[in-house]
Amino acid sequence: MSDPELGPQLDPLLTDATRLSIAALLAAGEWAEFGFVRDSTGVSDSTLSKRVSQLSEVGYVEVRKGYVGKRPRTWLSLSAAGRAALGAHVAALQRIASRVDRPAARPS
């Protein structure tokens, strides 16, 4: 994820806005309910399932299913690998974003 000279690199999986939102939501806590992530990102159940599957295939997201009373629940969590990938991705985004802030260097 990181180049010694260029610094952290963008994660191709997280360049998708929905996947980045999912990862950011999960990074803020230890776990989150599927319904919360769906409502927060504003996507459908099937879209979220698909995105979560893509993230869990590479080991970024872990899925746990259970029941509260008789109602089935799904909990999502960001793995250590997912947190590292998100951290590197955010650092890369910050580097790109800072190019606007940095005034052009004057030629000496």
Binding site: L25, V68, G87, L93
Partner: protein, 155 residues
């Protein structure tokens, strides 16, 4: 396909990350009315214990054990679901928090010791009223601060 975002797109993405973090922090916190209800319960309990020492002797331990059990259950996934919290944060206290907790426990013990030595009147109810008001007023602020510290790391 070039997927490198422009600086503006990167800024938008960073804003989105911050917004998602804020959403998750909100969802992890107890609803404010739980804090207010908890504070009111503590005050009522203190007054009842003060007015009826017999009730305190009979039910005090049971009530405290029940409250501790409820507090433990509330930290589980199911407990979160039952109390309307959809995000769970870790419960691993930082080393610095242990120091603060030990200091607070020592302070509380010292206050109780001094109060019992000097035979101060109404100490129990005063502690409960102050604790209840603090819980209702400062509880949500304190919880948000703790959650934000725990979730810090992805800026």
């Amino acid at each position: 396909m070039n997927e490198t975002p422009t600086p503006d797109q990167a800024r938008d993405a960073l804003r989105d990350v911050q917004e998602r973090r804020r959403q998750a922090t909100e969802a992890a916190a107890w609803p404010r009315w739980w804090w207010i209800g908890g504070g009111a319960f503590l005050i009522v309990l203190g007054v009842v214990f003060e007015l009826s020492p017999g009730f305190a002797r009979t039910w005090g331990t049971i009530i405290v054990c029940a409250l501790l059990t409820l507090a433990a259950i509330s930290t589980t996934r199911r407990g979160h679901a039952l109390t309307g919290r959809q995000v769970g944060v870790g419960h691993r206290p930082a080393p610095a928090n242990w120091g603060v907790a030990i200091l607070a426990a020592l302070l509380l013990t010292a206050v109780v010791f001094v109060a019992s030595k000097w035979n101060l009147p109404h100490v129990g109810v005063i502690v409960d009223v102050v604790g209840g008001v603090l819980m209702a007023v400062a509880g949500p602020w304190w919880e948000r601060r703790v959650i934000e510290r725990r979730t810090a790391g992805v800026e």
